[in-house]
Symmetry: C2
Subunit: 282 residues, 2 copies
């Protein structure tokens, strides 16, 4: 496994790779969710590149950039075990030199949900991902369904800017009690950790309502809200039932819908989602 820290060296190495390259961009502090992406990339491609870069531009001024959990040694061990070929882990000023001044922005989509709560977040995400795509030049790039809006925004960017690669979205990986894996879960107190299962439970309830024929989106939102408010810990940021492409809130569910929510436990904001998808036959 090669560990590379500069853009120039990554570019040089990329030129020597002939077959398909699978790429998993991460901010490190890897968990089973990230590892599932690496495994999938390993199955699909001749070469697997994983980046570890805590991207400052996607954090807001009052967010947890400084405190974001890091454990490079453990990350590298885990990636080595999965037969990763290349780890690209540049220092911040290799990606953002002092005069850096260019941004990639998906409009519309990014103003909703997470974008409404974190106004410059997606601009930071799309800019760094565009840069990483240009440096690594992957054939396929892998993202988790857990950050559903991020995956949709990146797919939109890749399509709109003709990036010529496949953006592949892999299923959310969960703890045994249903909590979606996230590097931020370690911030939770034991009590918050127990309460945090309301996210996945409320989504299961939404699925059940939908399977039973409920098509009124506001009814689903309101049932979820009541369910979550029954426990005292979590503060709801949003509960959304939206179109899977435009992320516009729905009144009536007529085709696929993304049910997503953000709930704060103290300073920790947790996300989760499920897609309600009509049965398409075989």
């Amino acid at each position: 496994m090669k560990v590379i820290e500069t853009v120039d060296e990554m570019r040089r190495l990329r030129r020597t790779l002939a077959g398909p390259v699978g790429f998993v961009p991460t901010m490190g502090y890897l968990h089973e969710g990230h590892l599932s992406l690496v495994k999938r990339a390993r199955e699909d491609n001749a070469t697997v590149v994983v980046s570890i870069f805590v991207n400052p531009t996607q954090f807001g001024p009052c967010e947890d950039l400084e405190d974001y959990p890091r454990d490079i040694k453990r990350d590298l061990t885990m990636l080595e075990e999965l037969d990763t070929d290349v780890v690209f882990m540049p220092p911040p000023d290799e990606i953002y030199p002092p005069q850096f001044n260019t941004w990639v922005e998906v409009t519309g989509l990014t103003e909703r949900l997470e974008g409404a709560a974190r106004p410059t977040h997606f601009r930071g995400v799309t800019t760094v991902v565009a840069k990483l795509f240009n440096i690594v030049q992957p054939t396929r790039a892998y993202f988790g369904q857990k950050d559903a809006q991020q995956a949709i925004v990146i797919q939109k960017m890749a399509t709109d800017l003709n990036m010529g690669l496949d953006v592949i979205v892999c299923p959310t990986i969960r703890e045994h009690d249903g909590l979606a894996m996230s590097s931020r879960n370690i911030y939770l107190t034991p009590e918050q950790r127990r309460s945090a299962t309301v996210l996945s439970q409320s989504l299961k309830m939404a699925e059940r309502l939908w399977t039973d024929g409920e098509r009124n989106a506001e009814h689903i939102r309101s049932e979820m809200r009541q369910f979550i408010e029954r426990q005292p810990e979590g503060q709801i940021d949003y509960i959304s039932v939206a179109d899977t492409l435009t992320l516009e809130e729905l009144d009536t569910i007529t085709s696929a819908a993304l049910v997503s929510l953000a709930v704060r436990f103290g300073k920790t904001r947790l996300l989760d989602n499920v897609v309600l998808r009509p049965y398409q036959g075989k």
Copy 2:
């Protein structure tokens, strides 16, 4: 010479090209300025790709998109004569499909000079050039010094987003009386055409002042302004003596400086510039 109209076909053809690819993006209605770029690309590369695309997103709402001059047949004949390999001329909705929503923007630099006069212009330029770069994947891309700020903005974008290609800026090509070649020169009435030589003449004057030791930028601007105002036709939009990298206006010229101006003749806005560059030795 292959003429290609779809992104997919351009991409397929690109995969078959082994050596360096030189790329000249144009809006068509080619003149000697464009052709000098194609000739240079021909010298430097195994394959030469020229695009012809009148990019709607770089025109303001009151600008000349509909009237922009077009003569595809003549363009293709000229390109064939220069041994161009590929002409990529997509229709507008191939580049901007209905749901298009992603923008590439260089900040700072683009707020000055042309950007101050045309607020969404450079966002349109950088977005379409980023898309064309992703589609054509050139080794080298060629731009004219005539649009000096555009060249600087594109170089900045390519660097900031790690596009991994060389942006090469070629000298301005001029008519016999000094007028910089531009597709928009055909809009000029005969009288305006005669007056339009004040742009290059005022730049020659600036060069002369500088060669004679003048380092006060405001003095140079004011001499140019007086010179241009002596003829009644042209309305000055701006006269600038600026840093060649940041485009910040200078008080005193201490190293290289970009002297640039925009002058309106009726509805036609003409640009020209010269770089004052200290003698570097051999």
